[in-house]
């Protein structure tokens, strides 16, 4: 694992897989949207509103996945001081915040016609909103200090501590009565999924598309972060040289 902490090696691998990720994201997204919007049946209760699920559920998964990735990168940065880990955590935050925002908005638009309310303060919705605030807090904290290293360390601690919210989101619908429905997937039940196969196909395609989209944007953002770190180093060296000349 530590072999990959070298930014030059990371860039070499990232640049090699990037075009494949772009192609995969484009194809999966196109196929997923086609099935989600046109070639899948309406639901017996929700009618065509069920199509909101195909964007809502993948973005909820990605909101949690990105946070987990951010917490793992932050822990690696705190423990082993890999600069690349910090950089990847910082690059992940806005992507995860975006997915979480899409999840909250799409869920709200589904909630009004189905439940009769845009928003309720049940355990699932509240813990998901907290996830969104954790992302915002992380980004604010990482940029709050003049010295980027200090801000990064404080933000990394927040990211790792905030990880306790992830199991709370996942199990909120099992631990407490919520208005939000429980998970449609189960590892242990005889029937693993309560979603009809014709609806599982667009959901799976959209989930994969969101996953490859994350890695694609992560590489783009990481490249930009590495470039800006290089610029910072050069500027510092210039300031040093100018200061030393006097």
């Amino acid at each position: 694992m530590h072999r990959f902490a070298n930014p030059a090696r990371f860039l070499r691998i990232a640049n090699a897989v990037y075009p494949w990720l772009v192609a995969a994201t484009f194809l999966l997204m196109a196929a997923g949207l086609w099935f989600a919007l046109f070639d899948s049946p309406p639901d017996y209760q929700q009618g065509d509103s069920v199509r909101i699920m195909y964007i809502h559920v993948p973005s909820a998964w990605m909101g949690m996945f990105c946070y987990t990735a951010m917490a793992v990168f932050s822990a690696m940065a705190l423990i082993w001081k890999h600069p690349l880990a910090d950089l990847l955590a910082r690059a992940t935050a806005p992507i995860g915040a975006g997915f979480t925002f899409v999840c909250l908005v799409s869920g709200s638009l589904w909630g009004k016609p189905m439940w009769g309310a845009y928003w309720v303060w049940d355990a699932r919705l509240t813990s998901m909103l907290i996830l969104f605030f954790l992302y915002l807090g992380y980004m604010a904290l990482a940029n709050a200090f003049d010295d980027p290293i200090r801000g990064q360390k404080a933000a990394a601690i927040l990211a790792v501590a905030g990880f306790v919210n992830i199991p709370i989101i996942k199990f909120s619908v099992d631990w407490w009565h919520t208005l939000h429905q429980p998970s449609s997937f189960s590892l242990f039940a005889a029937k693993h999924s309560d979603i009809a196969p014709s609806m599982l196909l667009p959901l799976g395609l959209m989930a994969l598309a969101c996953q490859t989209y994350y890695f694609m944007v992560l590489i783009l953002r990481a490249r930009a972060e590495i470039a800006s770190a290089k610029i910072r180093t050069i500027r510092m060296a210039q300031v040093h040289a100018a200061g030393g000349g006097e």
Binding site: P41, D43, V50, I79, G116, A161, W176, A196
Partner: protein, 143 residues
């Protein structure tokens, strides 16, 4: 012990401590986190008359009566049930056998007077044709 090792243990112990304390707090305030009470929980909760809260369960079959904009029905959890009355607009998914959450007060007449009705959706997603097939073969258990 190297510094890296020490930081690793620090993060692990810190997360365990944080996780345990959050777990204990959530467990302690568990009854405030639930979005609604079931009719059976209501029997042991002793909520004072006139206090606002939510009850949830299924709309018991055969109890739904509509009179203009006013509906009365019973909310059941298959063990106990509570009579509910409500005047206003109902969500589309509201019907007999369907999950429901009602917010309001228990009045002295023993009826729960709801001021807001929310429909609860379950985790099942399927096309109408599949439901028809299941009903035809007598394997349908839902609403």
């Amino acid at each position: 012990m190297t510094r890296k090792r020490r930081r690793l243990y620090f993060v692990i112990v810190g997360m365990l401590a944080l996780g345990t304390s959050v777990g204990l707090v959530l467990n302690a305030i568990s009854s405030d986190i639930v979005f609604f009470y079931s009719p059976t929980q209501l029997l042991t909760k002793h909520i004072p008359l006139g206090e606002r809260f939510r009850i949830g369960g299924l709309v018991q079959r055969g109890t739904l009566v509509k009179d203009g904009k006013t509906v009365t029905f019973r909310v059941t959890d298959h063990t106990n049930s509570v009579p509910v009355t409500y005047t206003g607009i109902l969500p589309d998914l509201f019907r007999e056998g369907q999950g429901v959450v009602a917010e309001g007060r228990m009045e002295p007449d023993g009826v729960f007077h709801a001021t807001e009705i929310l429909a609860k959706h379950d985790q099942k997603y399927m096309p109408p044709q599949v439901v028809e097939e299941l009903k035809k073969h007598g394997e349908w258990k839902g609403g």
